[in-house]
């Protein structure tokens, strides 16, 4: 989503550029980030006496909620890397939830995944038709597909589910995958004991380990494989290079004999398939494995936010999905005091960020962050708990905050959202 305010570029090519800063390798950044997040959460849980923040239940919730967001985010990456903004992911996800319920009802959990993906892909195909062949504004088409997706899902529900459940809003329950235990029973039990002991840091660690590694669902494995696979396809294969070039400079790609239209079609359809898959995972992971109207609750958009947060790369997007998944998991599985404690954690995080910016000599940003830290802490101090009506929207609030702060260092694909027509190059 190109910044429309960037109207005046720099034509100054002869004036020497600022020296490039050395960047850490990706794995190092990831390790630092994980340690930092764990650190903040642990400190908060200790100081505020909220063991829930790192409990195994919440951690396992995090995965359950992060997976659909991650898959949608992956869909967003596929689409936008090819230059097509896909706002319609929510609609495609809705189609996916419906398809998954229908497929799961008829053919079991595998059927759910496949049918969900297919339904989402169909939505993607419509978006591709509108934007690539007809040149419709990407965002307008996306909004229309969101409307259509919701309408079609409701329509098909009354047609197919209502006779069964007597309720147009819900589908019959579908069978799930069996998850399996990764940790041997003895280890799992001792971790659980450690967690209950409430000893600082160790209990937190135990909670996190047990939550993430305790019960592994095939959904997690499939999603991770898709994530890693997407990285390799997009960044390490000729197909992926060509696809990315369509999003960076489609005219250049065309001049090199690449059929930009074809790659966009493929990318957008795959993007829809991922969104549909996200819907399927949402259904299979829900408390009651079934389609419910309004199930997606804006996760299609949160997935886009995760993609932006991740700078259009799978690794960063995963971090974003984890963040939003955690917020979602906490508000659903925790208490409102726990969510309230997040304010405390946010204040700490802002404070640490302020110190870091000071170290990088960006005084103004540091002062701003310090002010934010103080304000958030004040809010935390003054209130006992957050209103429960607002707590259910924690992920959305978190998304907004993340968008506000992450927006600056972004580098979307250069030709993202730019209408492209063959032959109109120079």
């Amino acid at each position: 989503m190109a910044n429309p305010l960037a109207t005046l570029g720099d034509s100054a090519t002869f004036i020497p550029a600022a020296p490039a800063r050395r960047r850490l390798p990706a794995w190092a950044t990831a390790v630092i980030a994980i340690v930092a997040v764990f650190g903040v959460l642990t400190i908060t849980s200790i100081l505020d006496d909220q063991p829930l923040l790192t409990s195994s239940g919440i951690m396992s919730n995090t995965i359950t909620f992060a997976l659909p967001i991650m898959l949608v985010g992956l869909g967003g990456i596929w689409s936008e890397r090819s230059g097509s903004i896909n706002i319609g992911l929510e609609g495609m996800m809705i189609l996916g939830t419906w398809g998954a319920a229908w497929g799961g009802y008829n053919w079991g959990p595998v059927g759910a995944l496949v049918t969900g993906a297919v339904f989402g892909a169909l939505g993607g195909l419509v978006h591709a038709l509108a934007t690539v062949t007809f040149g419709v504004n990407h965002i307008v088409s996306g909004v229309a597909i969101n409307l259509l997706g919701a309408g079609i899902a409701r329509y098909l529900s009354t047609l197919i589910f209502e006779p069964i459940t007597k309720n147009a809003r819900d589908s019959p329950q579908i069978p799930r995958f069996d998850s399996f235990q990764l940790l041997p029973q003895g280890m799992s039990d001792s971790l659980q004991q450690l967690e209950r002991d409430q000893s600082p840091v160790l209990s937190n660690l135990a909670g996190v380990v047990r939550g993430f590694l305790g019960e592994i669902s095939p959904l997690l494995i499939i999603s991770v494989l898709l994530l890693v696979g997407s990285y390799f396809v997009l960044w390490r294969s000729p197909f992926g290079l060509r696809l990315r070039s369509c999003g960076e400079n489609p005219v250049a790609a065309e001049s090199l004999g690449i059929n930009v239209y074809r790659y966009k079609y493929i990318a957008i359809t795959i993007s829809g398939a991922f969104a549909g898959l996200g819907g399927a995972v949402l259904v299979l992971g829900a408390k009651v494995a079934a389609y419910t109207e309004g199930q997606t609750g804006g996760r299609g958009f949160i997935g886009l936010a995760a993609m932006i947060f991740g700078n259009w790369r799978p690794g960063g997007m995963l971090a974003g999905a984890g963040l939003f998944g955690y917020a979602d998991g906490l508000q659903l599985g925790g208490t409102s005091e726990a969510v309230h404690a997040l304010l405390y954690g946010a204040a700490i995080a802002a404070g640490l960020a302020a110190v870091w910016q000071l170290y990088r000599r960006k005084v103004r940003t540091a002062v701003l962050l310090a002010m934010v830290a103080i304000a958030v802490y004040a809010l935390y101090y003054v209130t006992d708990e957050l209103p429960e009506e607002l707590v259910s929207y924690t992920p959305h609030i978190v998304t907004l905050i993340v968008l506000a702060f992450a927006a600056q260092r972004l580098r979307p694909p250069a030709a993202n959202g730019v209408p492209y027509r063959r032959g109109e190059g120079d």
Binding site: M1, N3, P4, L5, A6, T7, L8, I87, V126, A130, F134, G135, V136, N137, I139, V140, S141, V143, A144, I145, L147, L148, A150, G151, I152, R154, Y155, T158, L159, G297, G298, F301, L304, A305, I308, P387, E389, L390, V391, S392, Y393, H396, I397, T399, L400, L403, A404, F405, A407, Q408, L410
Partner: protein, 367 residues
């Protein structure tokens, strides 16, 4: 003039026809009779309060569409209209029931508060866009969700609300804030604030066509770079457009609340925001297009009940709405390309002819 009218109608007519075709197909697939379905939809207009309901809804949709259109002119997709009108409504009713003023002044103040609240809810996305480059689609969608939570919180009996039976609601607006309508007995009551919608439409048309602001808005939306060179600051335009869009959005629920319900409850009507966006797209942001689009949309909404009677899933109407929007934007693209090619041909012909003339003159006269 007539020719121009016909040519600008080409696209929407084509689109509606295409949508009709697609929906007939969907109906046939689901074992229903398209003809009886459409027949029922058209027939119900004359029954009971249908006609008046359609008129009332049209007015509300017009306000929503104009809110969306103002944003569209500046290339802003204000998806947040849903949240803005919800906040506008709840704040306006809470404030309105807390103050007391003589008749006309009271509901005028309520309207004003609704506009301010709607604008305030649009302010954060506007600010984030111009300072941090956050795309307004994402931020306004988040704001919509948060609005739902905030409104629910505000009508909590512990805060500003009260319990009516088992559902939560605001206090009722005193009668001085009510706006009476035109009572047609059996046929229903036309909301008094239908006139508000008309006023907004006229104001919108005037602003876009005749004022400097309207010009600057359109220029900025089409080419921020050219506008910048022409002395128009796109940052300023973005903020003003978003705030204005939010302000108009705040008014959306007012006809229903001031004219009929007099309270804001949990069962608040949703969906006007997205409808407004769709209608603005269908009507190309043009005041006349918006009026007709609103009429069409209201008709489709009302017909859902009629479809129930013939045992056709009412979602067909929703799908029709979505399909029409998509079909219209596609049709507009096609028509635009055809027109541009034709225009270039005509200019090219003229230029070629002029070249021939001057080449002849060159040959005939001095070298």
């Amino acid at each position: 003039m007539i020719a121009k009218l016909i040519s600008s109608l080409r696209a929407p007519v084509l689109a509606v026809a295409a949508a009709l075709l697609l929906c007939s197909l969907a109906l046939i697939i689901s074992d229903a009779n398209p003809i009886s379905a459409f027949g029922a939809m058209i027939g119900q207009v004359n029954e009971n309060t249908s006609a008046v309901d359609i008129l009332n809804s049209t007015a509300i949709y017009m306000i929503a569409a104009i809110a969306a259109a103002i944003g569209f002119h500046m290339n802003l997709l204000n998806i947040g209209i849903e949240g803005q009108y919800r906040i506008g409504a709840v704040v306006a009713v809470i404030v309105g029931s807390a103050i007391s003023l003589p008749g006309v002044l009271h509901w005028l103040v309520v309207l004003l508060v609704a506009m301010l609240a709607g604008a305030a809810w649009a302010a954060l996305p506007a600010f984030l866009k111009v300072t941090r480059g956050v795309h307004e689609v994402l931020s306004t969608i988040m704001m919509n969700s948060i609005a739902a939570g905030l409104a629910a919180y505000l009508i909590n009996p512990d805060v500003f609300g009260r319990l009516v039976g088992s559902s939560k609601s605001t206090e009722e607006l005193p009668e001085s804030a009510w706006v009476s309508g035109l009572d047609l007995g059996d046929r229903g009551e036309i909301f008094g604030l239908v006139l508000l919608a008309a006023a907004v439409a006229v104001g919108y048309w005037f602003m876009m066509g005749r004022t400097r602001f309207g010009f600057e808005l359109k220029a900025s939306g089409e080419s921020p770079t050219a506008a910048l060179a022409g002395g128009i600051s796109s940052t300023r335009m973005i903020v003003i457009a978003m705030l204005m869009s939010g302000a108009v959005a705040g008014l959306i629920a007012m006809p229903e609340i001031l004219g009929r319900d007099h309270v804001f409850t949990q069962n608040f009507t949703l969906g006007y925001g997205f409808a407004g966006i769709g209608i603005a797209l269908i009507g190309r942001n043009h005041p006349v297009g918006i009026v007709f689009g609103s009429l069409l949309w209201a008709f489709l909404e009302k017909s859902k009940l009629a479809l129930d009677d013939v045992h056709v899933p009412r979602e067909i109407a929703t799908i029709m709405q979505g399909t029409i929007v998509l079909a219209v934007v596609i049709a507009y693209e096609i028509v635009k390309r055809m027109d541009r090619a034709a225009e270039q041909r005509s200019v090219g012909r003229r230029a070629a002819a002029a070249e021939l003339v001057s080449a002849d003159a060159e040959a005939a006269g001095e070298k």
